[in-house]
């Protein structure tokens, strides 16, 4: 899943750095992820993983790193089985 998240991050996150150089736990906001970038990233993730982020999960913490995104998507998937 992390590989897929990285691909989406690369195509929609508009980061000024190479996504491949970022560790799973690296802070994406420090790497240049903007609030609008987060919105586009979320919509692309929703389409790719066929999930919908509920209101209470739409926050910066859940998009702060590749690992955080994976956790968030797994949480949503497990709650909608």
């Amino acid at each position: 899943m992390k590989t897929r998240i990285r691909e989406i991050l690369k195509s929609t996150g508009k980061l000024p750095v190479d996504v491949a150089t970022l560790a799973d736990e690296a802070d994406l906001y420090n790497a240049g992820l903007t609030s609008f970038g987060t919105v586009e990233l979320m919509m692309a993730l929703e389409e790719a993983f066929e999930v919908e982020f509920p209101d209470n999960m739409m926050n910066r913490r859940n998009f702060a790193s590749v690992a955080a995104i994976e956790n968030a998507i797994r949480t949503i998937q497990s709650e909608h089985v």
Binding site: T34, S35, F36, V39, F53, D55, M58, N59, R60
Partner: protein, 306 residues
């Protein structure tokens, strides 16, 4: 419930009955009486008495801005539903005749309209950023501006405190994160003190902008989490949902990045603003002190008419 008892009139109907606001047939678009304008002018002066000594550069724009600047500002990303773009006829004589026929027939005649270079100003500070960017890097002390403009937001409502065209006074600060957060902290104190002197009930709260759509929920949540926007609320139309009359906004580097505005040290500039809803404050005063300004509390009159 009593069916025959006279129902209490809405605040909007009272404002129109007393002549303070003048109905135009469009919700949120009103004329203002001389007395209403007098109260606005007195409040405008009160703001200057609190903020005038800071050395802000005074700039006044007409209530419209360049469409190119508007597009670059990112407003359409956040608030497409509120934007007002100006369109005009650019057809030939045949198209003109068709237009007149459509108007006469009461059918949509706007399909031949084309967008102009002009967009209605959505917030008083929007025309300012490209002007500041064009001047080059900020000085060491940053920059401070005093603005006031009519602003347009497409949100027709029967709530007189939610007008489509209204005036916003603003102080806008440009500089380092420390400079702009200090500016906002100063105005959070000052704004509460100033409004308390007007004898209206106040409540300061963390707030968010009305970002469009479901994705906008995320922008709103983030704005609240980071405490980027505070509003000074006064009950006007409803006790449960008080109206934001002043707002204190820290934009971080949003506008600095968008417009390439740099500090003297070459960093991306941060910005913050304090906004005053001129009509909203006037409405709050009429709501809480009555329609006869001569009978407003002496303490309030002394503040507004020193």
């Amino acid at each position: 419930m009593c069916q025959n008892c006279p129902q209490p009139q809405s605040f909007l109907a009272e404002l129109i009955d007393t002549g303070l606001l003048i109905d135009t047939g469009v919700d949120g678009l009103y004329g203002r009486s001389g007395l209403f304008e007098e109260v606005i002018a007195r409040f405008d002066d009160l703001i200057t008495r609190h903020g005038g000594q800071d050395g802000a550069e005074i700039v006044r724009f007409p209530p419209a801005m360049s469409r190119k600047h508007f597009e670059k500002s990112g407003y359409l990303k956040s608030f497409p539903q509120l934007a007002g773009t100006v369109h005009s006829f650019a057809g030939n004589e045949r198209a003109h005749a068709e237009l007149l026929h459509k108007v006469a027939d009461g059918v949509d005649w706007t399909d031949g309209q084309i967008s102009t270079e002009v967009v209605l100003t959505p917030a008083a500070c929007y025309p300012l950023y490209p002007v500041v960017a064009k001047r080059g890097p900020l000085k060491t002390e940053g920059a401070l501006f005093d603005l006031q403009s009519y602003c347009f937001r497409h949100e027709p409502s029967k709530d007189p405190a939610r007008m489509q065209l209204f005036r916003m006074r603003e102080y806008v600060r440009f500089g380092t994160p420390e400079q702009v957060t200090e500016f906002r902290a100063t105005w959070l104190e000052r704004g509460q003190e100033m409004m308390a002197s007007l004898g209206v009930p106040l409540n300061l709260d963390v707030a968010n902008d009305p970002f469009f759509g479901r994705a906008g929920r995320m922008l709103a949540n983030n704005q609240r989490d980071q405490r980027l926007k505070f509003e000074l609320l006064i009950p006007i139309e409803s006790e449960e949902k008080p109206t934001a009359c002043l707002s204190f906004n820290y934009h971080q580097d949003h506008f600095g990045t968008t417009w390439g505005i740099q500090t003297a040290a070459g960093e991306t500039a941060h910005t913050a603003c304090v906004g005053f809803g001129m009509e909203r404050v006037a409405l709050a005063l009429f709501k809480h002190h009555g329609y006869d300004v001569a009978r407003w509390p002496a303490s309030v009159r002394n503040v507004l008419w020193p």
